[in-house]
Amino acid sequence: MEQQRLFQILELDGTLSDNSMVISEKLAVEMYKLLVLNRVFDRKLVNMQRKGQIGTYASFEGQEASQVGSAMALLPQDWMFPTYRDHAAMLTFGYEMVKIIWYWMGRIEGCMPPNNRNILPPYVPIATQIPQAAGAAWASKYKNEGACSIAYFGDGATSEGDFHEGLNMASVFKAPVVFFCQNNGYAISVPFSRQTASETVAQKAIAYNMNCVRVDGNDVFAVYVTTKNALEAARSGKGPTLIEAVTYRYGPHTTADDPSRYRSAEESETWKLRDPLLRLEAYLRKQNVLDQDTQEMIHIEADRLVNDGIQYALNVPKPDPSIMFKHVLSEKPWNIQEQESSFNSFMERYHHQ
């Protein structure tokens, strides 16, 4: 079946599977910088959790190509619906780094979207973003704005009702949306084989008469091309696409999880042979685009950017807790007003002496 084939451009050794293919040097270097930045970011956030500077954190190491490649394919007017593991996608599309750090510090500013992009805060309940992404795309189509939505989710989400309801709605109404599944093999501890009896995620699109592609999620070129094609199809009225990006998270589900209980360390090591960053590095070296010095500079720059973000995140004082009373409704009803003012007088008496 076509939907079982894994689409790949970049071979493990850094050669292209199709020699006639032309990839712009600028784009490839940009991708590399983003992969490096996001890997550095992710590792530093795991570190911050260890040091008690942030709360529980959901690491995405290993999935950078899926997220960066797909997000780079978006246009500025598009809508992004990420989960709590999609920070590389969010950063690539323009979410401020400091806000992602704040998010994991349990700060409400971490949910505030940037001014010039429609990026929703991370979706925590699984698959709930899927029908919403379909709806936002439907609105773009209704208003004739040429914007698409992209919804990120994992393999576990494909067992949820909202996944099926969202795909069905999107397909029926031909909404310009891309459903981007990162199949990393596990939903916390439950392996893909227990998640579904389907051989692939991609094949689930057939039931909805929807386009689908199964792509090597660790091949940033293949992910980028696949997503770009899907977005173009959506924009030209051909409806939604389900993309299954086959990838792997090297780390635990979150910093509160211990993967040794459900999978072997060897499995993780095997996947590292397919590492998205090393593959692109090998390619760039073969193309003579990346020498040792440039590579070092890219890493130093990534380090600097992330360190600055972390310093800034740690230095900005926490907001006044009464921020919780804001924006619950467009106007504060009397009950919230009363509770806020009694909270404020309590705080004045006991916390601001």
Partner: protein, 330 residues
């Protein structure tokens, strides 16, 4: 110009007006298009506004509400019909986890001005699980408003007011009053403000707070109490449950010094519990007797052959009020 309309007709007129005025408004739901809705609230709107404005959807509550949230995030004003309130559960995660908190999470960058309409309540001999009264679920979800009209005039005015606001609204339409009365309704646009209760009848001995179809049971009971026992009842139709109108409640009870709450949802944890608590909390010294709740029982809404015994009938309201007065005299 005023005509006598049913609640169904008044709602239809409001939706017609909203669709005409604002092309950002679209209706989504099951059977609302060609069929005009199972209760005909959307009758003729499909023909008038077309498939892209009055949208028959798949049978998919979470899909409908989820999509509607996305539509609203991206600048439209969808009005969703859930065919029966008792079927809303698949959409609860969308409502409770997202609809009610997207504004807060994004500190106002996104608002979700989505109205979810649903026929609600018991008393029309509907099949099992079509008669639920689960307003307290939404009453306890900060971030959504809960509105329940009791008559044709309010139905039209409240729905238009809901659409003018920037907040999500759960708009519950008691099935029992869909066609049980015709009242004068102006043809022109008007609003009945959210958060304002309506004193339907003034009185001096007892304040009864109620909403939806129960208002009519209370009116009947009040007539009888007044005519046969000389007890003067003030009736407050709450209209908006969240946020409810504390000022009107306070003003009334300050006068009568007795409060009764009537609702058809179960007693325990119902909206009446909060009302009773807040009245006791603020007006304890002014009350002549504890606040009384007359409600559905703490059982699943029974099959329709006995639903009239589940609902607080006017007889039961009179009976319970008399019991309350007797126990006070002792």
């Amino acid at each position: 110009m005023q005509r006598d309309l049913t609640v169904v007709q008044a709602l239809n007129e409001a939706l017609d007006l909203l669709l005409t005025e604002d092309d950002k408004i679209l209706l989504l739901g099951q059977d609302i298009g060609k069929n005009g809705g199972v209760f005909r609230v959307t009758e003729n709107l499909f023909n008038k506004f077309g498939d892209h404005r009055v949208v028959d959807t798949p049978l998919s509550e979470a899909g409908i509400v989820g999509c509607a949230i996305g539509l609203a995030l991206n600048g439209l004003k969808p009005i969703v019909e859930i065919e029966f309130f008792g079927f809303i559960y698949p959409a609860l995660e969308q409502i409770l986890s997202h609809l009610s908190r997207l504004r807060m999470r994004t500190q106002g960058k996104y608002e979700v001005p989505l109205i979810i309409r649903a026929p609600y309540g018991a008393g029309v001999r509907a099949p099992e699980l079509h008669s639920e009264s689960i307003e307290s679920l939404f009453f306890q979800s900060p971030g959504v408003k809960v509105v329940i009209p009791s008559n044709p005039y309010d139905a039209k005015g409240l729905l238009i007011a809901a659409s003018e606001g920037h907040d999500p609204v759960i708009f519950l339409e008691p099935m029992r009053i869909y066609r049980s009365m015709r009242h004068p309704v102006p043809q022109h646009r008007y609003t009945v403000p959210l958060g304002k209760a309506n004193v339907i009848k003034e009185g001096k001995d007892i304040s009864i707070i109620c909403w939806g179809a129960m208002v009519w049971n209370v009116i009947k009971a009040a007539d009888q109490l007044e005519n046969t026992q000389g007890i003067s009842v003030e009736i407050i139709d709450l209209r908006t449950l969240y946020p409810f109108d504390m000022d009107t409640i306070k003003e009334s009870i300050r006068k009568t010094q007795r409060a009764v709450i009537v609702h058809e949802a179960p007693l325990t944890g119902g909206v009446g519990a909060e009302l009773a608590a807040v009245i006791h909390d603020r007006m304890f010294g002014e009350l002549k007797s504890p606040v009384k709740r007359i409600t559905g029982f703490d059982v699943p809404v029974p099959q329709f052959s006995i639903e009239d015994y589940y609902l607080p009938s006017s007889d039961r309201i009179i009976h319970e009020i008399n019991q309350m007065l007797v126990s006070i005299k002792r």
